[in-house]
């Protein structure tokens, strides 16, 4: 079993994601059927489909936050599976369903994630991240005072704090202006991760190397 904690690894292990024949329903509604695909560090995948097609559910299944009804999702390091309870150590997620603590400042949010995740990042790392996402000078302001675009950029900064091997972005630029969008793509280009983007924006989807089309809301299975 390889060391799955980034902070103690001397040589970066090879991460890969395997989605094997995964299906999921909510009551009578089939969200996805027999999805199969693989992804490794440096590769990217766009999960596309109309509203309600199950893109967000697929992202949450990959993050280990929702269980598939059948099939398996595996996170591998050097070919060895990582236990699902440790997936959070290397998964970064940005989603409309995820928020940071509004009553805390941006820096306090990052510090909390750093302490509780055991990432051992410094105050300077926080400053660099905040500057990278155009939040320099606003780090000591409470998140409740941020605009929606600033909150979105801070969520990305928080997700990247742990230097995730797998980065899951659900509608990543939906609240961003042109400058914010450019910052996000520039930041992602500087990092080596396995990247999954769930979107119905063709331009966003076009940035990924491969596509996974989810089915219609009525419940047709997605073709992977």
């Amino acid at each position: 079993m390889p060391d799955d904690n980034p902070k103690t690894s001397s040589v970066a292990p090879q991460f890969s994601l395997i989605i094997d024949n995964v299906s999921k329903s909510f009551g009578p509604h089939l969200i996805c059927r027999n999805i199969t695909c693989e992804l490794a560090i440096g590769q990217s995948l766009a999960v596309i489909g109309p509203n309600g097609s199950g893109k967000s559910t697929m992202v949450k299944m990959i993050a280990g936050l929702v269980r598939p009804d059948s099939g398996r999702i595996r996170h591998l390091l050097d070919g060895f599976p990582i236990k699902p309870e440790y997936w959070h150590r290397h998964v970064g997620l940005v989603s409309p369903e995820l928020a940071l603590y509004e009553e805390l400042t941006a820096r306090e949010n990052l510090a909390f994630a750093n302490q509780v995740g055991g990432w051992e990042r410094s105050r300077r790392d926080f400053d660099d991240l905040l500057a990278e996402f155009g939040l320099k000078g606003r780090g000591d302001d409470r998140v409740s005072t941020y605009s929606s675009g600033m909150k979105q950029r801070l969520k990305l900064a928080a997700a990247l704090l742990k230097e995730p091997r797998l980065l899951l972005l659900d509608e990543p630029t939906i609240t961003l202006d042109v400058d914010g969008t450019a910052r996000v793509w520039a930041a992602l280009a500087r990092r080596q991760t396995a990247l999954i983007i769930a979107t119905n924006d063709p331009e966003e989807a076009g940035r990924a190397e491969a596509r996974l089309a989810m089915g219609a809301p009525e419940g047709r299975g997605a073709d992977g």
């Binding site: 940071l100 009553e103 509780v116």
Partner: protein, 219 residues
Amino acid sequence: MVEMWAVFRKDLRSEYRTRYAVNALFLFALVTLTALSFATGGAGLSPLLAAVFFWVILFFSALSSLAQTFVKEAETKTELFLKLTAPDDAVFFGKWGFNLLLIVLLEIVLTPLFVVMLDVNLVHWEIWAGALLLGGVGLVSTITLLGALIAAANVRGALFSVLAFPVLLPLLVTAIRVSEVCFGGRSEVATGDAFLVLGAYAVISTTAGWLLFPFVWRD
């Protein structure tokens, strides 16, 4: 340990700035105590009745606020952030510690007010302190776990009371018996035996909460 402490401090800081749980906890307790004080009209309460009143106030105050630590995470959408950042143990014991702090503060504030406003004679302080500590730990452990469980449900209030009452009933009955002695009464149950029950409940509920929490939190 560092991670647990981080969750605890985050909740404390967050609570200091929002007063989300404290207001519910203390206001409920004080309003109920005031209502009881007016209702009894200065008539002396029997030790058993005083003990019942005290634990009923504590029980419903705790129900109204301690689960908020998890419900708030769900309502403000920070739950996913926490799940993807913190180890399960750190989340459980961080929030457990925060809830324990709240309940101990409430017990410290409520006891003198209760004694004065209901004109109760508290005879055995040392037994009282032990009962509050062990009873508080049992209460907090159970409510912390159930709070995580109901945070994912739609009908939170009703579900919480329904789930919590049968689980906490042995604790409440035993704590009331011990408290009756503290107020100068004669309980049918030996105090030593009752303390054993309270201690066992505290240990079992905390251990069970710790072991079951990952299933409640992740599934």
